[in-house]
């Protein structure tokens, strides 16, 4: 919502620095957006076709500084001599776009001509905004559009403040904050001619949709012109002047927040207007020339023959549109049920300044004022007003009286305000305060102080409970005047054990020299399939782009894309990890969601993943996990293993299937590890008990076995551990070699070093020998043989 200082001053004598006013507005919850700088009034001095492009033309722009600038422009709606908004080089547009010197298809472009949308001055994206003649070239656009010396404030209005979608509403707040008088003058208008009731009637057939429907009849409308001040204010506030009736309607809407609609009385038989719900499939041609198909929830305005002649609260119909010839105008102002208008405008994609106000909720009592204000502004143009307001009423929302405990106000705000101080906040913005009648409700806590019955003004539909009123007191008192206190937590705070472990996993992996990547959690439909994984990701039903329509079941597609991205930029060999949520489809209230951990080592082969897993497992003290050689989906079939803990698969490691790598345009090998971190952390073993190192000497024995390739080293190792018993302190594999001539085909030699040590004595040679023999004997059962 934009407001001009001069317009505010019509309702309250606000003075002072624009910054001071902006600060007050901001502190009232009406944030002031920064106005774009560097947009000036310029003249189109020449138009030329672009030599190499059909959809762009070259414009010579005169910004009044004696120099013509060439601008490339994609719009064709301007003529030589038109005044247009010109964003000079260096300007930052409201969208954040910075205007620079550019070349378009070889032609220089020094700045940009702007549409109303680009200036955030209106919804019109079609073509460049054409400014009224007579403005000074080179003047700042805002200043040029307003009155000389005027100030434009661009306010962000929250959905709970429909009253602030009007100049009057903003003036009321500002007056209250500054302790200034505020006055909404009654429109001064004379009536003439036959009473309106003789030439029009209204009927509400859908009282839940339309709370009130009011009509005034205006005569002698033909050829009337709006005053120039009005057109300039409309432009400054972002609306393009169109014609007398529409401009006045817009002006009144911006001023008081009540939209109105004009019908050509000659096109409405008997001046009879009705409101009802549309029938399913009913059609109406709207003002923009489009035939709209309605459904049963929408509201329509109908004539005496029950023909739809407009869509309630959204857009008028073409059949009754006013024209230059219109003599008599039926001017209508209504109160519509906000959710109905929201639904219809959203479904039809028709959002306007009017529908936005109906959605937020207009003041149900203000229509008569708005219609008279229109007539008052139209009177200098010769338009006359027929006596009588023609009006019908449906269901209006109740206006509850709110029980407010002044002690509760202080308890929520953290203030120490007296009842008169609170009253001084509420009354200037229309809230009425009186002592509560009747007994206090027993379930409500009682506080010291007064208990009030507070009436809420008709323009504040958002306010209906005690907490709403408390907020108003705080807002008008000013949040910045409330003393700051710091509540002290009775808890010690910090991370849970599981959160600390997850953080540790991050630190361990980074300590291993891996970089943490953050791929998008969305996948394209084919991504899981390309990874050789089941394509069963949960889909997003309303994605903006198909590439972001599937939720990941694995971290693999994201990290492989990251590997490919880097490889394509001559950055091979990246070592990346990610810890993030994955989602698996399921039957629960929500899909299964868990934290996965994945590592991609580009340029490395499967053993690197196995080694990394072993380091990670030890560093994190995960539960003992079996690494089981087996083909897994999407992995190199002979270089893949499952991680098994507690009988369940908790992960996979090995090397990405070369076919998968190829599908991702990765030429390197990629060693891969992915595990269900959530599951591993759940089964995390706590702090282990300290074991004092033995003070007695240790003995090492080396054993080399010929092991069939089908037998995993882990199986032999397990047998050795079992056989060596308690005396075994460490066991490590130190040598593997293959030699078909010496060892025979299909097997390899694997050698382990066992360190033996007792806690309470030195092991004798005989004891060491016994353990060695036991190991050799045990190994025979695995199918391996001692190598001599």
């Amino acid at each position: 919502m934009k407001v001009l200082l001069s317009w505010l001053q019509e309702f309250t004598p606000v003075e002072g620095s624009p910054q001071g006013i902006a600060d007050d507005l901001s502190d009232l919850g009406l944030a002031v957006a920064a106005a774009p700088a560097g947009i000036v009034v310029a003249r189109v001095a020449g138009l030329r076709p672009h030599p190499d492009a059909d959809r762009i033309q070259l414009v010579d722009v005169d910004a009044g500084d004696g120099e013509l600038r060439q601008v490339c422009c994609g719009a064709f709606n301007m003529a030589v001599g038109d005044l247009v908004p010109f964003a000079t080089v260096g300007t930052t547009m409201p969208s954040g776009l910075e205007i620079g010197r550019r070349r378009m298809r070889g032609q220089a472009s020094e700045g940009m001509l702007c549409s109303a949308v680009e200036l955030e001055m209106g919804p019109d994206a079609e073509g460049i905004m054409i400014l009224p003649a007579g403005l000074e070239l080179g003047d700042d656009l805002t200043a040029a559009l307003g009155v000389a010396g005027d100030v434009l404030f661009d306010l962000e209005v929250n959905p709970n403040r429909p009253d602030a979608l009007s100049v009057v509403g903003v003036a009321r707040d500002l007056a209250a904050r500054r302790g200034l008088p505020f006055e909404l003058p009654e429109p001064q208008v004379e009536t003439s001619g036959a009473p309106a009731g003789e030439s029009s009637s209204v009927e509400i057939l859908a009282p839940d949709l339309c709370g009130r429907f009011s009509v005034r009849v205006l005569c002698n409308a033909t050829g009337a012109r709006p005053p120039p001040l009005l057109a300039r204010r409309l432009l400054a506030l972002g609306m393009r002047p169109l014609n007398f009736v529409v401009d006045l309607s817009n002006y009144v809407m911006l001023e008081i927040g009540q939209p109105s609609h004009a019908f050509d009385a000659d096109l409405v038989p008997g001046g009879a207007l009705g409101v009802r719900r549309a029938t399913e499939g009913e059609q109406v041609e709207t003002l923009d020339g489009v035939v709209r198909t309605l459904n049963a929830g929408d509201g329509v305005i109908v004539d005496a023959s029950d023909r739809a002649i407009g869509i309630a609260g959204v857009m008028g119909g073409a059949s009754v549109e006013i024209s230059a010839e219109t003599q008599v105008v039926l001017l209508e102002a209504a109160w519509w049920n906000p959710p109905d208008i929201a639904r219809t405008s959203r479904r039809l994609g028709l959002r306007s300044e009017a529908s936005a106000r109906f959605e937020a909720g207009v003041d149900p009592e203000i229509a008569p004022w708005a219609l008279e204000r229109f007539a008052e502004l139209a009177a200098p143009g010769g338009v006359t007003l027929a006596p009588e307001l023609v009006q019908a009423q449906g269901h209006l929302p109740p206006r509850p009286t709110v029980r407010v405990r002044t002690g509760r106000v202080n308890a929520i705000l953290g203030t120490d305000l007296t009842p008169p101080e609170m009253r001084a906040c509420l009354e200037p913005i229309g809230f009425g305060v009186s002592a509560a009648a009747g007994e206090p409700s027993p379930e409500l806590r009682s506080y010291p102080g007064e208990v009030w019955d507070v009436t809420v003004p008709s323009w504040r539909p958002d306010s209906s409970t005690e907490i709403d009123v408390i907020e108003e007191v705080g807002r008008l008192w000013s949040y910045s005047r409330i003393a700051r206190t710091v509540p002290s937590s009775p808890h010690s705070g910090g991370l849970t054990a599981r959160q600390r472990s997850r953080r540790r996993a991050h630190d361990v992996l980074a300590g291993f020299g891996l970089m943490e990547a953050m791929p998008l959690p969305f996948l394209a439909p084919g991504d899981l399939g390309r990874c050789g994984l089941p394509a069963d990701g949960i889909t997003v039903t309303n994605p903006l782009v198909a590439e972001e329509s599937v939720m990941r079941t694995s971290l693999r597609p994201g990290l492989l894309k990251a590997v490919a991205y880097n490889a394509a930029r001559r950055q091979p060999g990246v070592a990346l990890f990610e810890i993030g949520h994955v989602h698996a489809p399921g039957d629960g209230e929500l899909p299964a969601e868990s934290d996965h951990l994945a590592v991609a080592l580009a340029g490395r082969e499967a053993p690197a993943a196995a080694a990394l897993w072993e380091r990670l497992r030890r560093a994190m003290a995960f539960v003992p996990t079996e690494v089981r050689n087996e083909a897994t989906a999407g992995m190199h079939p002979t270089r893949s293993a499952s991680l098994i803990a507690g009988g369940e698969t908790v992960g996979v490691l090995g090397e990405i299937d070369p076919a998968v790598s190829e599908a991702f345009d990765i030429a390197e090998r990629v060693a891969w590890l992915e595990c269900d971190l959530g599951r591993l952390l759940e089964s995390h073993v706590g702090d282990s008990h300290y074991r004092q190192p033995s003070r007695f000497p240790s003995s090492d024995i080396d054993l080399a076995f010929v092991v069939d390739d089908a037998i995993p080293a882990a199986a032999v190792e397990a047998a050795l551990r079992e056989a060596a018993g308690d005396a075994l302190v460490t066991l490590h594999l130190f040598d593997v070699f293959r030699d078909a001539d010496r060892l025979g085909p299909g097997c390899r030699s694997v050698a382990w070093r066992l360190r033996l040590q007792a806690a309470d004595r030195t092991l004798t040679d005989a004891e060491v020998g016994e353990i060695r023999a036991a190991c050799i004997e045990a190994i025979a059962t695995t199918g391996a043989t001692l190598r001599d």
């Binding site: 901001s26 944030a31 959905p159 403040r161 929201a342 639904r343 959605e359 937020a360 308890a411 929520i412 705000l413 953290g414 379930e443 409500l444 907490i467 709403d468 907020e471 807002r475 949040y479 910045s480 409330i482 003393a483 700051r484 206190t485 710091v486 509540p487 937590s489 009775p490 010690s492 705070g493 991370l495 959160q499 630190d507 980074a510 300590g511 291993f512 020299g513 970089m515 943490e516 990547a517 953050m518 791929p519 998008l520 959690p521 969305f522 949960i538 997003v540 903006l544 782009v545 972001e548 939720m551 990251a562 991205y565 880097n566 930029r569 950055q571 990346l576 989602h583 929500l590 899909p591």
Partner: protein, 340 residues
């Protein structure tokens, strides 16, 4: 054979000493020197052999000759030790010199692990709030419509839902399950599951139907705060925000609250942070927890009150490191990752 005399013995000792000393000097390595030791000072050495002739001397000559022999042995011994020390030092010098390295030769660029800038920012925030006595809560990224909207005082069709461009997923009845649009549903989960007093922050990933550009992404990170306790006020909220501001941004940074609107808080506010240079940064939204939300979550609003706040993490990271384009956070280009 002439009888020995002390003088003869002493003279022989002198000669042998001279011989031994020159032999010491000739040895050119520790090994050579130590190998020569038995010949010079051992039991079979000529000098030691002179001792055997002491018994044959006249008794009055023995002390004199004995002294001369002892002195000779001591001389050789000390010259031996000196020579050994000298040779050892020379060998150490030679060996160390041979091991000389250029420590500026680095064969491979080092592989340094990094945490993503978002993770670092998130951890920093968690640490600040932990120190303020808050615990860290988490919730699912795929959420029920009720947790994300319904329980937070957004009835169906409420215009405030339009403030969030929600992405829905195909789970359960249409419209029942969505990608959470904010971390606020964690508030609901915490209040439903734990009794007050509550001092909680909930960082996490959120989603919106947004086209990726320099300042928007369909996925982003937020942190949510929730306090529910006896007599919590708007002043407590302002104080907590101020404490956080100073703790996170540093001295010289202050905060302010401006009235705003969120369905699940009332009074609601935006909070801004003022930099030491006087400029303002709009950081997030906050407010006193709406009584309806407390009630829906099983907390008696007449007995307890609370506040909540939330803000984006991605922008904090961008501001701290001068990252201009939000999309850079998600490219995983190692030239980006290695900078943090």
């Amino acid at each position: 054979m002439t009888a020995d005399s002390a003088a003869v013995l002493a003279s022989e000792a002198r000669a042998l000493t001279a011989e031994a000393v020159s032999a010491l000097e000739v040895a050119s390595s520790v090994a050579e020197l130590t190998a020569a030791r038995p010949d010079l000072l051992g039991r079979g050495s000529p000098l030691t052999g002179l001792r055997r002739r002491l018994g044959a001397l006249a008794p009055e000559d023995r002390p004199l000759a004995g002294r001369a022999l002892s002195e000779a042995l001591a001389t050789v011994e000390s010259r031996y030790d000196a020579r050994l020390e000298e040779l050892r030092a020379a060998e150490r010098r030679r060996q160390l010199e041979a091991e000389r390295l250029d420590l500026t030769e680095l064969p491979e660029p080092p592989q340094v692990g990094r945490l993503h800038v978002i993770t670092q920012t998130l951890q920093r925030l968690e640490d600040v709030f932990s120190a303020m006595g808050y615990t860290v809560a988490e919730g699912p990224e795929i959420e029920t419509e009720w947790h994300n909207f319904g329980a937070l005082n957004f009835p169906p069709g409420h215009p405030a839902r339009d403030m969030y461009d929600t992405l829905y997923v195909d789970h359960g009845p249409p419209g029942s399950t969505l990608l959470r649009t904010h971390t606020s549903p964690v508030q609901v989960r915490v209040m439903v599951n734990q009794p007050p007093p509550l001092y909680v922050v909930a960082p996490g990933r959120c989603y919106r139907q947004d086209t990726a550009d320099a300042t928007h992404m369909p996925v982003f990170h937020q942190i949510e705060g929730l306090v529910v306790d006896d007599g919590i006020t708007l002043g407590d909220l302002a104080g907590a925000i101020e404490t956080f501001t100073t703790a996170y941004f540093g001295p010289g940074f202050t905060s302010r609250l401006r009235p705003s609107y969120f369905p699940f808080t009332e009074p609601s506010a935006e909070f801004d942070v003022q930099r030491p240079d006087g400029t303002w940064l709009e950081l997030g939204g906050c407010g006193v927890v709406h009584p309806s939300v407390l009630e829906v979550c099983g907390v008696d609003p007449e007995r307890w009150s609370g506040f909540a706040f939330g803000f984006g993490i991605d922008r904090l990271a961008m501001l701290r490191y001068g990252i201009g384009d939000l999309r850079d956070l998600w490219t995983n280009d190692v030239r980006f990752l290695e900078q943090f």
